[in-house]
Symmetry: C2
Subunit: 348 residues, 2 copies
C-alpha cells in the first residue's frame, strides 16, 4: 500500500519529469508543498540558472496562500535539497526561512558537495527529515545526472527504427520510412528528453537527417538538442546537409570519429550535457555499443521483413551478448517500441 508520503512524492515526480531534457547540467527535480492534506504549491526546475524546484514550489505556494500559511508545512522533493551556494542560494536555507516543518526527499544527492549534508543542516534547524521515499522512481529520472557525476560520461541512449528482422532500410524505391507516423511522433518526444543527438558522417551523407525537435509544443522553453556529427572526413559531408545549413546550424558540432569516448566527455565538460541520443546506422551504432558507451536502447520495430545487408546493429558481434533490463513495451499502431537499459556488471 502506498503511504501518503508515497503519493505526495509521486506528485513531485510528475513535476520533475517536466524538466527532463531541459535542465542540463542540473538534474530534473520536482517539489510539492503540502499541509493538512492540501497542496499549497508545486514546481520544477526549468533550466540551469533558474530557481531550483524547492524555490519554485515555495514561490507557487506564496502566490496562492501566502507566507504565513506555509509555516508548518511539509515539502516533498525528488532529490536531496542542495546545501551549497551555486548559481542560486542553497535550498536548505530557503526551506528553513519558510518555516517548513518536515522535508521528505527521494534520492540522496551523489554530488559529494551535497551528499547527506542537507539532513544535518535541516535537523539542526528542528526540521524532521525523511529520505528514500519513492527513490526507485526518482532514480529513473536522475540516472543521467548520477552517471555524469560518477564518471564524467553522459547517459547515452541508442535509438533505432527497424524491421521485424532487424534491418534499417527498405528495398530501393520503397521510401525511407520503416516505422509508422505514431512511432515517428514518439521519436520527437524522445528527442525532447535529451541534450544532444549524436550521429555519424555516413548517416548525414546517406539520409540527410535534420535531427531536430519539430513539434513546437515539445520545443517550447528549450533549445534544440546539440547535434554532433562524428566523422573522419568532415570535408566529405554534403554542403547542403540540413545540420550544416538550417536555422540551428550553430547547434551542430563536428567531432573526430575515432575518439568517441573523448567526444562524450567533452560534451559533458564543454556543453554541460547529461544525455545523448545516438541516431545512426548499424556500423556506427555497433562501434558505440562495442566500446561500452551505450546505456539504454529504444527500438521501434515495424511489422515488416526486409532482409538484406544492412542490420540495425552491425559489427562483428557482441561478446558477450548484451542483455536489457527494466524493459518496457509500447505499441504504436502495428509498430512496437522496446525500451531497456544495457545490463552492466557494475552500475554506472
Amino acid at each position: 500500500m502506498p503511504t501518503d508520503d508515497d503519493q505526495w512524492m509521486n506528485l513531485a515526480l510528475e513535476e520533475a519529469r517536466k524538466g527532463i531534457g531541459r535542465t542540463a547540467p542540473n538534474p530534473p527535480v520536482g517539489a510539492v508543498i503540502v499541509k493538512n492534506g492540501q497542496v499549497l504549491g508545486k514546481g520544477w526546475h526549468r533550466m540551469a540558472g533558474h530557481p531550483h524546484a524547492e524555490r519554485e514550489a515555495l514561490a507557487d505556494a506564496r502566490k496562492s496562500v501566502g507566507d504565513e500559511e506555509i509555516r508548518g508545512s511539509c515539502i516533498y522533493v525528488t532529490l536531496e535539497p542542495c546545501s551549497t551556494h551555486g548559481r542560486t542560494p542553497p535550498c536548505t536555507a530557503g526551506i528553513i526561512e519558510a518555516g517548513i516543518r518536515r522535508v521528505v526527499y527521494a534520492c540522496t544527492d551523489e554530488n559529494p558537495d551535497h551528499a547527506g549534508r542537507a539532513d544535518a543542516i535541516l535537523k539542526a534547524a528542528g526540521i524532521e527529515v525523511v529520505s528514500g521515499v519513492q527513490s526507485k522512481a526518482a532514480v529513473e529520472i536522475l540516472r543521467p545526472f548520477f552517471k555524469v557525476k560518477r564518471s564524467g560520461l553522459p547517459w547515452v541512449i541508442w535509438k533505432t527504427g527497424m524491421s521485424l528482422d532487424g534491418r534499417i532500410t527498405r528495398p530501393p524505391g520503397e521510401g525511407q520510412w520503416l516505422t509508422n507516423p505514431e512511432s515517428r511522433q514518439d521519436v520527437q518526444r524522445l528527442r525532447s528528453t535529451v541534450d544532444a543527438i549524436l550521429t555519424s558522417g555516413e548517416t548525414v551523407r546517406r539520409d540527410h537527417p535534420a535531427l531536430t525537435i519539430r513539434d513546437p509544443e515539445l520545443l517550447a522553453g528549450r533549445s534544440q538538442p546539440w547535434r554532433v556529427i562524428a566523422t573522419a572526413q568532415p570535408d566529405s559531408l554534403p554542403s547542403d546537409a540540413p545540420l550544416l545549413v538550417d536555422e540551428w546550424k550553430d547547434r551542430t558540432l563536428l567531432r573526430e570519429r575515432d575518439h568517441l569516448e573523448q567526444t562524450l566527455r567533452e560534451l559533458v565538460r564543454d556543453q554541460g550535457i547529461l544525455t545523448v541520443l545516438v541516431e545512426a546506422g548499424g556500423r556506427f551504432s555497433a562501434a558505440m555499443m562495442e566500446a561500452g558507451l551505450i546505456d539504454e536502447v529504444v527500438a521501434y520495430m515495424a511489422p515488416m521483413l526486409c532482409g538484406g545487408p544492412l542490420p540495425a546493429l552491425g559489427g562483428s558481434g557482441m561478446d558477450p551478448a548484451l542483455h536489457l533490463d527494466g524493459l518496457t513495451f509500447e505499441q504504436f499502431g502495428n509498430d512496437i517500441k522496446w525500451r531497456g537499459r544495457i545490463r552492466r556488471v557494475r552500475e554506472v
Copy 2:
C-alpha cells in the same frame, strides 16, 4: 453488440480450436447444439476417419438429453456441414434425421463438392439455414484448409527466435538459447498446431534439433508432426541426429533442398498435411520467404543484442519488403512474440 447467434458460434469456435493440428487432411471444425438457451451437446472433429463435429455434438446431446429433446433444436457449426459421403456419411443427413430445426454455420465450404450445397438440402427438409455468423473468426481456423483446397500447397508458418537485433545465435560459449523458458513452452504449443515441421540439413547439422512435441498433454491423442529435412546432401547429416535415430524416426522425411515447392505439394498429396512449421536458419528461411512459400510469421524476440553475421532472415534482401497483417503481440516474461500473416496482393 454480439447476438445470441454470435455467442453460440463462439462456443462452437472454441470447440473447433481443440482440433487444430489434429485433423489433417480434414479441417478443424466445432459444433454446438442449443435449445431454449441451453446447450444440449457440443463436439469437435478429432481426427480424419472419426465423426465430424456435427455428429460428435449430436452424440454428446443424445447422451445427455436423449433423441427426443434434440428435435426442434438449433445446431451451430463453424463450417458448412458436408453433404457428400466421404469416410463418414453426410452431416446434412444426420442433422435432418435428428429433427434439428435450424442450422447456423460460419463459413461456406470452399470444396466445390460441398460449397453451398448444404443450404439447398437442409432447406428442402424444412430447416432454417443461416450462414456467415462469425465467419472471420472461423476463417482464422480454416485458412490452412482453404489454402490447400485452392492451391494444393499447405499453410506455411515461419517460426524464429531472435535477439532484439534480429540475430539467431549468441556469442560462442553462451549456450544456445536466446529466448526464455516461457517462450520455448509456447513453441511447444505452436508445434502442436501443425502437421509437419520443415528444417534444413544445415540446421540439423548445426543444432541437432529434435523438433518434437515434448509436452505429453499436447501430444495426447495425436502423432508427432512429420519432420521434413530439406537437404542437398543427405549423406552429410550426422548419423546420430535425433531426427534420424529417435523413437519417432519413422516420422522423419528427407527431401531435396532444391525443390521446396514440390516438397510442399507432395506433403499435401502424400501425407495429407494442411500446415507446415519452418524452423531453420537464416539462409533456408530466406529461400522459403523469397520463393513466396511462407504465409505466416511467429517471431519470439529476446531482450538481448548479439550482433554478428547470422541474421534470422538472411538472403540478399526482400524485394519488395514483406508486410505483416493481422498482427498480434504476446509477452512471455521479457520476451515478446509477434504473429502475423504475410500480406499478399492476392489472397491465398
